[in-house]
Assembly symmetry: C2
Homo-oligomer: 157 residues x 2
Amino acid sequence: MLRLSKLTDYAVVVLVRLAGTEGVQTSPGIAASIGIPEPTVAKVLKTLAAGGLVASQRGARGGYRLLRPLSAIPIADVIATIDGPIALAACVDGSATECESQGLCPIRGRWDPVNDAIHQALSAITLADMQEASVPRAFRVPARPAATASANVLPAE
Amino acid sequence: MLRLSKLTDYAVVVLVRLAGTEGVQTSPGIAASIGIPEPTVAKVLKTLAAGGLVASQRGARGGYRLLRPLSAIPIADVIATIDGPIALAACVDGSATECESQGLCPIRGRWDPVNDAIHQALSAITLADMQEASVPRAFRVPARPAATASANVLPAE
DNA sequence: GCCAATCAGGACCATCCCGGTCCAGTTAGC
DNA sequence: GCTAACTGGACCGGGATGGTCCTGATTGGC
């Protein structure tokens, strides 16, 4: 299934959401606007800040803001920030864990080309590619001030 | 981390090992030769047989044999057989599970191009690509009959 | 015709990792 | 000084994964 962590999925949503505004946005505000539990969003944002994808402003009236435009953020970066370096299996050069049967394993280290291929593929696609097209126009939030955000981001339903 | 299941890793090793002989090989024999617990190898082989990558011969003197040369088996097939269809996240068209906040999610369904890119990358690399080159010559088991396999597959070193 | 070897297919369990929550601490505006 | 917000850590439960075992079906040999 090639499982990608759910946190990474959230991160993409959060980043796209963050791109919709010019000022900083608080994690409670973002959480409310995308319908993800607040502590989880906070954790994602903290990780993204540590990874240098977003900037954090502490204190009152603080929040997070995007450091680069979506078009300059390949998904590989997001995945690497949240999930750690992109590597398929344990049998990769970087990993410290040696597979126990390495003396017998006939293809040890051979996952590298596969990893490279995947890394290339993921580096070629940016968040902007994921955002544009086929997104319902209703959700293209156009730089709305965060002030009243928590009140009316939810479509009337 | 983009975790790939360990079973898939085993499957690759098993398939490469299977390619080293012309006749059928039993699962205990393969297990002994690659240093992986026998029941686990049996499970992998069963799955591979169900997926059409190997053929099984039941009864006494039965075993498994490869159906295609390694060069005709893209890793995407192995992964799909063991781990299920290649899909990164839950937010994919094929998945029946709807993400609960789909009304709010601004990029729903947008993982598809990413999945396609990864699928292409994995389809372009075959098991032969992973086997050849940079493998110690000692491990290039040259079509050795399975009869005495369990005794001397371990290179003297 | 019987027996042994081997695959088939399931149930089953333990362990690890992930997702999610919470708390104490720090910073910055008012 | 107080409050709002980020920071960093610990913490815990659930689910998936890896691994084992058992029973049955099939085939070849004696």
